[in-house]
């Protein structure tokens, strides 16, 4: 017997993601999902960002296959930090984020940062219930990565070119990145930052504050 169905396989994940978003909205929290290759500087960026925003009003959910190292780095910085170990999973799921939300006091925060597992393909396929997607691309990764991983960059709400302090050291042409983006995503603002020198961080902080303001006025 053949049964015709038209049903999204990701439906269950998407339903949990919607519920996560509803919980965040109800608490007036703006959630930012940070995605990039391993080592692009997500954790160091958060270490610099959170104190600048008001550490007491920030929480982090951090996904890694193994270890609690990133959570330990952030523990003294953000008011609330929860590590999610995905085991063999190369991305966070809405259910894992939902469980992470259970561990947080959402009423006392304005910003939730979700540091996804370092991976340029899999995280992009899963809605977590975030409000914004921030995608990082670091200079040492090379100037060809936007064209190679378009599905990560296409849905990005902001694109951070990180480790720009290394621009003079490596053979890297920013113009190639921007040229590729001109076909893939012209909507997301592009911000060049260095977490080590502090370059560009003010623009990133301003972008985050704008998102929070938009979120509060929407709800």
């Amino acid at each position: 017997m053949k049964i015709n169905v038209v049903e999204s396989v990701l439906k269950a994940n998407d339903a949990v993601a919607r519920e996560n978003r509803r919980r965040l909205d109800a608490a007036g929290v703006v959630a930012v999902n940070l995605m990039s290759a391993p080592g692009s500087g997500k954790t160091l960026l958060l270490e610099k960002t959170i104190p600048a925003l008001a550490a007491a009003r920030c929480a982090v959910l951090v996904g890694d296959l193994q270890t609690t190292r990133d959570a330990e780095r952030l523990a003294g910085i953000a008011a609330q930090v929860t590590q999610i170990n995905t085991g063999t999973g190369c991305h966070l799921t809405a259910t894992q984020v939902g469980e992470g939300l259970d561990s947080l006091d959402l009423r006392s925060i304005d910003f939730l940062f979700i540091e996804n597992v370092g991976n340029m393909v899999c995280p992009a396929a899963f809605d977590l219930g975030e409000h914004r997607r921030a995608v990082l691309l670091s200079v040492p990764e090379g100037d060809d990565k936007v064209a190679k991983y378009p599905t990560l960059f296409q849905p990005a709400d902001v694109i951070l070119l990180t480790k720009v302090d290394l621009l003079g050291v490596l053979d890297y042409q920013r113009s190639k990145v921007y040229q590729d983006l001109s076909r893939i995503n012209t909507r997301a603002p592009r911000i060049e930052v260095s977490s080590t020198t502090g370059q560009g961080l003010d623009r990133w902080f301003a972008w985050l504050k704008d998102q929070r303001r938009a979120q509060v006025s929407d709800s």
Partner: protein
């Protein structure tokens, strides 16, 4: 390797459908994968095989069809066929789109024995 997450979600759907139909066994399954999901068919086959052992879908044939991209321009509303590495609106030359098709994974049909 998000294919394992996909296979697990698919098997959960199949379990529910089999129960609704009071099926004894599932023999064939067809899924349509949007190109943006970047599913590697061989990986999904392997993940499905592994995840379906000891279920009603064990040994079922999995048919995977890749589906193309449709995008709608957020600036001018034009709907067009995009490519995985090109979302440029043919009308206004911006790349600011909503994805209309090609992002989802859809279960299309199930063949079962009752």
């Amino acid at each position: 390797m998000h294919e394992m997450s996909i296979a697990t979600a698919l098997l959960e759907q199949l379990r529910r459908i089999a129960a609704e139909q009071q099926a004894a066994r599932i023999v064939e399954v067809e899924v349509h994968c949007g190109v943006m999901q970047q599913v590697v068919p061989e990986s999904l086959q392997l993940a499905f095989e592994a995840a379906s052992t000891d279920t009603l879908a064990a040994g079922a044939r999995l048919k995977i069809v890749e589906t193309g991209l449709a995008a709608r321009c957020r600036s001018c509303g034009e709907q067009f066929e995009a490519a995985i590495d090109n979302y440029l609106c043919p009308r206004c030359r911006t790349a600011d789109v909503e994805i209309v098709a090609g992002r989802d994974i859809v279960l299309r049909s199930v063949v079962c024995e009752v």
